[in-house]
């Protein structure tokens, strides 16, 4: 407690500290919300300037940007179906349908509150248990467990966003197959590249997501406009009630735990957290068929988890020197610039600095709640802009987002091709969320699968030899069997009704 108070005092007792805190908060929110210009862009731009800042402000700035950036991307995902970054993509699965149902403000309310809860709980856990948890997680979760965890996550994906199980599985397989384009993770062998240089780098996540969500949405709504069937989303400023929040308590607890543990795992972090949490929300729901149609739990689960992952990501970073992603790797650079090295000794050598980071992330999570409540009342009015003007704007922003990541025009072509494909797939009841989850979880999963297979002497049955991976695989297989059983049962009951 004493350390936390010291950290807080160091941030908020000077005008400069407060200014940097607020600047980082707003910068993260804005950059997180613009597709392609995510917080990494901001963090990379700011990195050279940190050399001239006192160490405590530099590290505090990165903590604040990290927390607010993860939340920022939810706003555009909810309002316009444009996820600001990959970890906000699952928020769009139900957030945007909520907007279409006239519940944009509620969706933002859920997102902001749950982001704040996830981030705050995560920051508190981070303060209490950095060292023991880091040791447990890193020693227990190896490639076998991570591969099993991703398999476990994939088993519910097919049920999201499509009423037909076969079409859900086909969507998932399509996503997984797209994820294999490029080089294989074992030896860098080119796969499905057809000698095209662009394909050898793999198909980018962000252009794919922008195409499947934003562009296909513009095409679908544009078609409705031309045919006179377009319905403007209703603008409401209703914030979720306390009882509505209370009904989400288990989803919040479950997603915080998932986010926390995903955040600890190096290299996976917030993206896996958001996707797994969404999948688990579907798995545990009594009404899984409502997911993808504007179900609040579909917003609560990923937003809680991706923010819970931010605090957890600090654990391997600080205790073991293992960054969970690009932004945490930049934090190592900030420490290095100020002649410090992250690792087990950081808690001794730079204890004050570490507690400034903890305190800044805690207060940033709470500040998001305050900003978000105000924001949810105001930002929904963007929906009053006529779609005729919004459509070209969305296309231009998405194009800039797709191009800005790698400066490659073929990413923009990919985005539009994905958009056109997404338009036809959505019309035919295929699941866009399953495709996206297939691409992302497939790539993460294959890396772990290859490492696991090598460790297991290529014997897949070895997945059942450790308690964690065995449990995950068994429950995953049971989930698949259950979903098939349910579908067969519902088909039979339909047949009986017909007779």
């Amino acid at each position: 407690m004493q350390d936390f108070l010291t950290g807080t005092t160091l941030i908020f007792t000077s005008g400069t500290g407060i200014a940097i805190f607020i600047g980082g908060l707003l910068g993260g929110l804005v950059f997180g919300a613009i597709p392609g210009l995510n917080v990494l862009t901001l963090a990379a731009v700011l990195l050279p300037f940190t050399a001239w800042m006192p160490a405590e402000y530099a590290i505090m700035l990165y903590g604040v940007i990290y927390v607010s950036g993860v939340y920022g991307g939810a706003i555009t995902a909810i309002l316009f179906n444009i996820p600001g970054s990959v970890e906000n993509a699952p928020t769009a699965f139900d957030g945007y349908p909520m907007t279409r149902n006239g519940e944009a403000s509620k969706a933002i309310g859920y997102a902001v509150t749950c982001s704040a809860i996830g981030g705050t709980l995560s920051a508190m856990l981070m303060m209490i248990a950095t060292e023991p948890i880091a040791e447990f997680a890193v020693s227990t979760f190896g490639p076998i467990e991570i591969a099993a965890l991703i398999f476990f996550g994939l088993t519910v994906v097919a049920g999201v966003g499509s009423k037909s199980l076969a079409k859900g599985w086909l969507s998932l397989c399509l996503g997984l197959l797209i994820g294999t384009v490029g080089h294989d993770p074992a030896a860098g062998v080119p796969r499905f590249t057809f000698g095209v240089l662009y394909l050898s780098g793999g198909i980018g996540f962000i252009p794919m997501i922008l195409g499947l969500f934003a562009v296909s949405e513009v095409l679908l709504q544009g078609q409705r406009m031309l045919r006179g069937t377009y319905e403007k989303p209703k603008v409401s400023v209703d914030f979720p009630t306390l009882s509505e929040f209370w009904s989400m308590r288990w989803a919040v607890v479950r997603s915080t735990i998932i986010g926390w543990f995903s955040g600890i795992l190096p290299g996976v972090g917030a993206t896996l957290a958001a996707f797994l949490s969404y999948n688990e929300a579907v798995r545990w729901s009594k009404t899984p068929e409502k997911f993808g149609t504007g179900f609040p739990e579909g917003v609560v689960a990923p937003e809680t988890a991706n923010n819970a992952a931010t605090g957890a990501a600090m654990i391997p970073l600080l205790a073991l020197g293992l960054p969970g992603g690009a932004l945490t790797a930049m934090m190592i650079a900030v420490f290095n610039v100020h002649d410090m090295e992250v690792g087990p000794l950081i808690m001794v050598e730079a204890r004050e600095l570490v507690w400034i980071l903890f305190a800044s992330m805690f207060w940033a999570s709470l500040a998001i709640l305050l900003l978000g409540v105000v924001e949810s009342k105001g930002i929904v009015h963007l929906l009053r802009i006529p779609f005729t003007l919004l459509a070209p704007g969305i296309l231009v922003f998405s194009t800039i987002g797709a191009y800005a990541i790698r400066g490659n025009i073929y990413d923009v072509y990919t985005m539009f091709i994905a958009g056109i494909a997404g338009y036809f797939l959505r019309r035919s009841d295929y699941s866009v969320p399953a495709i996206v989850m297939g691409v992302i979880l497939g790539q993460l999963g294959e890396n772990s699968l290859v490492q696991a297979m090598t460790m297991m002497d290529n014997n897949l049955l070895q997945f059942f030899s450790t308690p964690i991976s065995g449990t995950l695989c068994t429950v995953g297989l049971l989930t698949v069997a259950w979903s098939i059983f349910q579908r067969v049962r519902s088909s039979r009951s339909n047949k009986t009704r017909q007779i």
Binding site: K167, L174, L226, R227, V412, D429
Partner: protein, 181 residues
Amino acid sequence: MQDRKRSLLGDTVFWEAVAWLVLAALAFWFSRPFDKPLPHFSPGAAFWPKIIIGGMFISAFILLVGRLSSQNRAVSEETVAHLEDVPDDLPGLNWRLIAMFVLPLIWVYGMHQMGFLLVTPFFLIAYTWLMGVTRIRTLLGFSLGFYAALVLVFYKLIFTPLPMGAGYFHTINGELLALLQ
């Protein structure tokens, strides 16, 4: 019998299943060049893609069989009926709808050749008009105002690298950029 055959040939789900089977077969065919054991990973680079292709094949087969069986046909029809509210009237496709799909691709090609700065105002005007804005004042006001805001934010404030075009257009864009910044 003839009726059933005819209804099957006009059935989109049947053709979708066939398309998925063809895609799975093509993916399998194209995985052959890298379907070899690797020094440190004997299942080879095609191991994972082949699992996916297998899954795709089974799912497509289930879709096809499900469609062929009358019992699932009822379910499928019920499903499709309440899922997508976009009217499925392909004969009603008009040139504006086609332009909605094609115009962005032309814009990207133009951007590639002539640069973002030069082609984007024309795209904004054309797409806004296509979406149904016909009042000249609104059309130009929105398109040019939005373009000015884009230039201000992405070129003046955050210096985002955007396509500069090729050849002579690259030089023109470079000069415009120097003027702006």
